[in-house]
């Protein structure tokens, strides 16, 4: 679901980025007000979780791959505002360091994965949880919420892809950016997510939530026992398992390189050309592009990327907590 650069027209990127600015501003303020000081480092752990969950690629029908996001999980643990910040920072690090998702398209990606998923998922989760009293109701709400939220995000991404041929064409009438109209992009994005990726998201969300609730209830409910070691243990387990994400060999729909897109077949017919916006568009050479370390086997690169990304997120949010503390001291 990470939209690369040059798939969206600059105008779309600008609109999505502008839409996210107030969301980030309000989220930052709300998260500061809602999260107790002791929980700020948990934000980093949440972001690290989301980062690692997104590394587990699964093969999807149609030869592409997809992954879960974990936005609803973090929203259920820390609230939707905090989840928005956590997933946004995870996406930013993926874009800058690992070349996963574009820099210009960062606003659009953040809208789909850091805004739609946490808020919709959280809303549905609270709605169902409020109407049942059993502990199972909570998990059901979480499952339904995460399933619907990730599919909604996929739909948003599909719409962003699908409107491109209508709004940006070159002199010859060929699309400048993403070449697929809504009729192609919506089923291509939505069917795999409805059939497979949505359930992967449910699996991660409910599984991790139930685990954390059992071993460290303080991370879910204020005042209960917190066992941060168990959560760190889970992160280490995710890091060790991350090369599983390499088993799915295809490229995710809408994330092909400029050379690759020429041969992508839709309805039995290859595209046959490279949209001009992609051949001479903006591109950033990421340090660890596609989660690989130059000169090392793929799986080691993947583990190193997982470790570096997770550690970086924990550090970033610890430093955020420091900023916040000094604000409290001076005020």
């Amino acid at each position: 679901m990470h939209i690369p650069d040059n798939y969206l027209s600059p105008a779309t990127c600008a609109v999505m980025g502008a839409a996210m600015v107030p969301v980030w501003a309000i989220s930052a303020r709300k998260a500061q007000a809602e999260i107790s000081r002791a929980k700020v480092p948990l934000l980093g752990i949440g972001a690290a979780f989301s980062f690692l969950i997104m590394m587990f690629n699964v093969p999807l029908p149609g030869g592409t791959t997809g992954h879960a996001v974990g936005g609803t999980l973090i929203a259920a643990l820390l609230g939707p505002w905090a989840a928005c910040i956590a997933v946004s920072v995870a996406l930013l690090i993926q874009a800058l360091l690992f070349g996963d998702g574009g820099i210009l398209a960062f606003g659009a990606n953040a809208f789909n994965m850091a805004f739609v998923i946490p808020f919709l998922g959280y809303f549905i989760y609270r709605f169902i949880k409020g109407r049942t009293s059993s502990p199972r109701g909570e998990l059901i709400g979480l499952g339904v919420g995460s399933y619907l939220a990730i599919n909604m995000a996929a739909l948003c991404a599909a719409i962003e892809f699908g409107i491109q041929p209508a709004i940006a064409r070159d002199a010859a009438g060929l699309p400048l950016y993403c070449p697929y109209p809504l009729a192609v992009s919506i089923p291509a994005m939505l069917i795999p997510h409805l059939v497979v990726a949505g359930f992967i998201e449910v699996f991660f969300t409910v599984g991790v939530f139930a685990f954390i609730k059992r071993v460290s209830p303080g991370s879910v409910y204020e005042g209960a026992r917190t066992r941060i070691q168990a959560i760190y243990g889970l992160i280490v387990a995710f890091v060790c398992l991350s090369p599983l994400g390499l088993l799915a060999s295809g490229t995710a729909w809408g994330e092909w390189g400029a050379e690759e897109i020429k041969n992508v077949a839709t309805g039995g017919k290859a595209l046959g050309y490279v949209p001009t916006g992609m051949t001479n568009g903006f591109s950033l050479k990421a340090l660890l592009a596609d989660y690989t370390v130059p000169g090392m086997p793929e799986w080691t690169g993947y583990i190193v990327s997982a470790v570096a990304g997770a550690a970086l997120l924990v550090i970033v949010f610890k430093l955020f907590g420091l900023l916040r503390r000094s604000e409290v001291e001076t005020s």
Binding site: V293, V307, A308, L312, K318
Partner: protein
């Protein structure tokens, strides 16, 4: 009763002229910052848990050596990942301190190496900057998580000559003591200068001179006191070396880096 002398009844309108003493203020601030750092460090071990300082000092020497020798960007990426992981387990304040120093040094390195970028050797400049950043960050991490006494203990275990440890130990203690002394002299100079005091620069020389004489005196006193208490110029490391699982992990990580150094070199 005698009448009040006339000069006492006059209104005194003495307006001291504006004095220029920015340099005294600056020196005072500088001394204060060094002293407060020294005080904050003494005897307190920060960071999570406690790794044996000897293990830390040894690993840091090995890591700095490997980082400076390597020519493989992959090895630098791996070392950077190791740095990130070790930082992620530290307290936020400590992380900020480590990054502040190492990023400042890295920026300085970039400035120095800028000409080589214009001559088309950009990749070498990037490599050197990353190497400098990594080495400084690791050293800063070690120095920030160990107190001075344990670091001098580690030097002893490494077989450093006693004289070296004596100098190291006493220098650290006396930086604080003499700093406090110099600070009081600077305050005195500031307080006693009324109006424009043009001779202040000369007094500063006096402060330095007095400080030297004082330090000599204090050093003699201290050595005398140490001899009285039976000091023969010989240091002994206190306590037996006890290694815990944490030390094992640091050793393991260093060993892994050594292995990776040769692996990445072969490619």
């Amino acid at each position: 009763m005698k009448a009040m002398p006339g000069w006492l009844l006059q209104d005194a309108r003495y307006q001291p002229r504006q004095d220029k003493d920015a340099f005294v203020d600056r020196s005072i601030l500088r001394f204060l910052s060094v002293l407060s750092k020294g005080r904050a460090r003494s005897g307190r071990i920060q960071g999570h848990g406690h790794t044996e300082p000897l293990v830390k000092v040894l690993s840091i020497i090995v890591v700095a050596l490997l980082v400076s020798l390597t020519r493989s960007p992959a090895f630098l990426v791996l070392t950077a990942t190791g740095l990130l992981v070790s930082l992620a387990f530290q307290e936020a304040r400590l992380i900020a301190r480590v990054l502040k120093t190492s990023l400042a040094v890295a920026v300085f390195t970039v400035l120095i190496l800028l000409p080589s970028v214009f001559w088309g050797r950009g990749s070498a400049a990037v490599m050197i900057t990353v190497k400098v950043f990594l080495s400084v960050a690791f050293v800063k991490l070690v120095s920030a998580t160990a107190d001075w006494a344990s670091i001098s203990g580690a030097f002893k275990r490494l077989g450093a000559p006693d004289l070296f440890i004596l100098v190291f130990d006493i220098a650290l203690k006396y930086i604080t003591l003499l700093g406090e002394f110099a600070l009081s002299m600077l305050y005195a100079l500031k307080l006693r200068s009324v109006g424009r005091n043009t001779g202040k620069t000369a007094s500063l020389g006096g402060i330095a001179g007095t400080l030297f004489l004082k330090s000599k005196e204090m050093a003699e006193d201290m050595y005398g006191a140490m001899e009285c208490r039976g000091f023969t110029g010989e240091y002994r490391a206190a306590g037996r070396l006890r290694l815990r699982w944490r030390d094992g992990m640091v050793c393991g990580a260093t060993g892994l880096l050594i292995a990776l150094f040769f692996l990445t070199r072969a490619r």
